[in-house]
Symmetry: C2
Subunit: 354 residues, 2 copies
């Protein structure tokens, strides 16, 4: 510890993202955007042309390039590994595809106890392309400054077990996840087997990324918002905790879900920081989660509505975020594909100078 | 007022639904189900065969038959008028269709100020088929007992202005309604013109139903859950209140939305009762909305999970509902099409005998 009186306090050269996730308020506020590596960038659309989504995630040079594009362009304080919730399923030999205009489609939905038994025989296979991509990303990030630090961290990424299970059971995106939620209630044994497999898959995928050099991870639960709190607490949260436990003590672990305002206390269990959907004000989240660093939560609709609508809202988010012990500025959901990238760059400047 | 000591208290022959909506606890708890008139019933699938959704809503004999089917089968305490959120748009001459596997599709999405100006020139046209359907329904319900009453009430129905506007702007169902929400933020003048038109359309459609004999109405906001509270309060709630005001003082007005746990206080404004999504426990809703009768909120996933999963959950909902000044038992979202109708009949019996 360095007393501040009578001496010059040394600058903390830990990147601002990692300071905030450790519960500090760095001199420069860290900011990155969920889905910053994606369709909002013309350079992304250019390199993705003719290559399918999952295929792109499995090509080390391409995945590395896409991961780095928004860091170069926007000067964000973190790279997020370019991947997809479905990638670990593919690597485990499950037949999934991303269908344009639909989303992830599972060739053989998992509906019965027998389907679950067949599924859980699958194991995460070769992940060398993930390791290779991350090594390339780290090489460039090692010399890319973030705040006062000489390097920028990479965040690893995996879908949470419930979101994986919801896709596996429904076979495609759905609004209420009734098939998955009714399996959870009517056949808890199969449900637990399915969730244990999904949790271990997510945990293994995060571990591969941390082994290769990711400095933090985010577990993303797209669909947990469809659950009642008691069902989430009993039938889902323990499995998310199991996935997060795979990298416990190695890197800070962010846990994020959409429409999960009613689940925040549970989502904080087993995580080091919580990402907050745009519908829950950060000061309210901070009051409910004492001691927990927060991430979020600019409404993505404001990115499409122009700077006049965005600026006061972003400043309000930053102000409310000071109630948390550490705050990583981000959106409260992903970057919409229609976003003008220039507004994102301007938003990064605003966060860094505010 | 009738003192209960030393006299026989006369039975209140007001139907239990209307007692509960007036803030009383009738001897028999009222129950009905959102989407009770629909695909869960074989007799519905039979009469709908070969007839499109909106077309069915506009055929008085068919709409009346479909509305009455669940009352006959399940002995529920209310009929809900068989209609669709898109029907008033069709009656106003807007080109919309319900596409299988997609949902409502608007031929010419409303994206610009000029689009809005063109749209608001439309007026609700001939509604005689709605009036005719309701007259047929009322004739049968007049002799269908509900609790101690000799008749069963009909609930009228309309989509809330935001849900109509979201479909009109997006052109089809979406998850986050980014196009609609960004128009709301970037062009408030066009937004207000659009919402005023939607509110008046919904209000007029409710009025037609009340004029024809509906005993209550429900304004249904499918998509309001995507909004932050400040945006809902400033840019949406006043228009829902305007729609509800069209039948103020004539019948009790229910206001329901999905994923709207963060908006309940606002949704209670201008309504006589609030429908609660399955994710907010009714005792919590009752504490937040003192004096407001509530409706809900059995999780539809429990209908698919079998009686063992459903019964304790339904009894818990009923118990929590006693915290409200009046409680109409219902689901916390619509009946899933895959529901076994026998489990619904059994659930009605459980509610009536609990």
């Amino acid at each position: 510890m360095w007393p501040t009186i009578g001496r010059v306090t040394p600058v903390d050269v830990t990147p601002p993202l990692l300071q905030a996730l450790a519960g500090k308020h760095p001199a420069t506020k860290p900011v990155w955007f969920m889905r910053q590596a994606g369709r909002s960038l013309p350079e992304y659309r250019e390199v993705r042309r003719g290559t399918g989504m999952i295929e792109s995630c499995l090509m080390p040079d391409l995945a590395a390039e896409i991961t780095l594009q928004p860091v170069r362009r926007h000067k964000v304080d973190a790279a997020i590994f370019f991947s997809d919730i479905m990638v670990p399923l593919t690597l485990a030999g499950v037949d999934v595809d991303i269908v344009a205009g639909v989303g992830p489609v599972v060739a053989e939905p998992v509906r019965t106890a027998s389907d679950v038994r067949k599924l859980v025989a699958h194991e995460l296979g070769d992940t060398s392309m993930i390791t290779a991509a991350i090594e390339r990303i780290r090489a460039e990030l090692a010399t890319t400054p973030s705040g006062d630090a000489s390097w920028t961290p990479l965040i690893g990424f995996a879908g949470a077990p419930f979101t994986l299970a919801a896709y596996l059971v429904e076979g495609r995106p759905s609004r209420d996840h009734l098939a998955a939620r009714s399996m959870m209630l009517s056949d808890p044994e199969s449900w637990d087997a399915l969730m244990a497999w999904c949790a271990d898959l997510s945990g293994a995928f995060l571990t591969v990324q941390v082994d290769a050099g990711a400095s933090a991870v985010q577990l993303f639960d797209s669909w947990a918002g469809s659950l009642r709190l008691p069902d989430y607490t009993e039938r889902v949260a323990p499995w998310s905790q199991r996935a997060l436990a795979a990298v416990e003590g190695r890197v800070p672990r962010l846990h994020f879900g959409t429409g999960t305002g009613h689940l925040l206390e549970q989502m904080a269990q087993g995580a080091d920081a919580v990402g907050v959907d745009y519908r829950t004000p950060l000061d309210e989240a901070a009051a409910r989660l004492p001691g927990v660093p927060l991430q979020g939560n600019i409404d993505p609709a404001r990115l499409l509505a122009g700077w006049e609508a965005l600026e006061p809202h972003a400043l309000d988010v930053i102000r409310r975020g000071t109630a948390a012990p550490g705050h990583v500025v981000n959106l409260g959901h992903g970057v919409p594909p229609e976003t003008d990238p220039e507004i994102l760059t301007r938003l990064v400047d605003l966060v860094h100078t505010s």
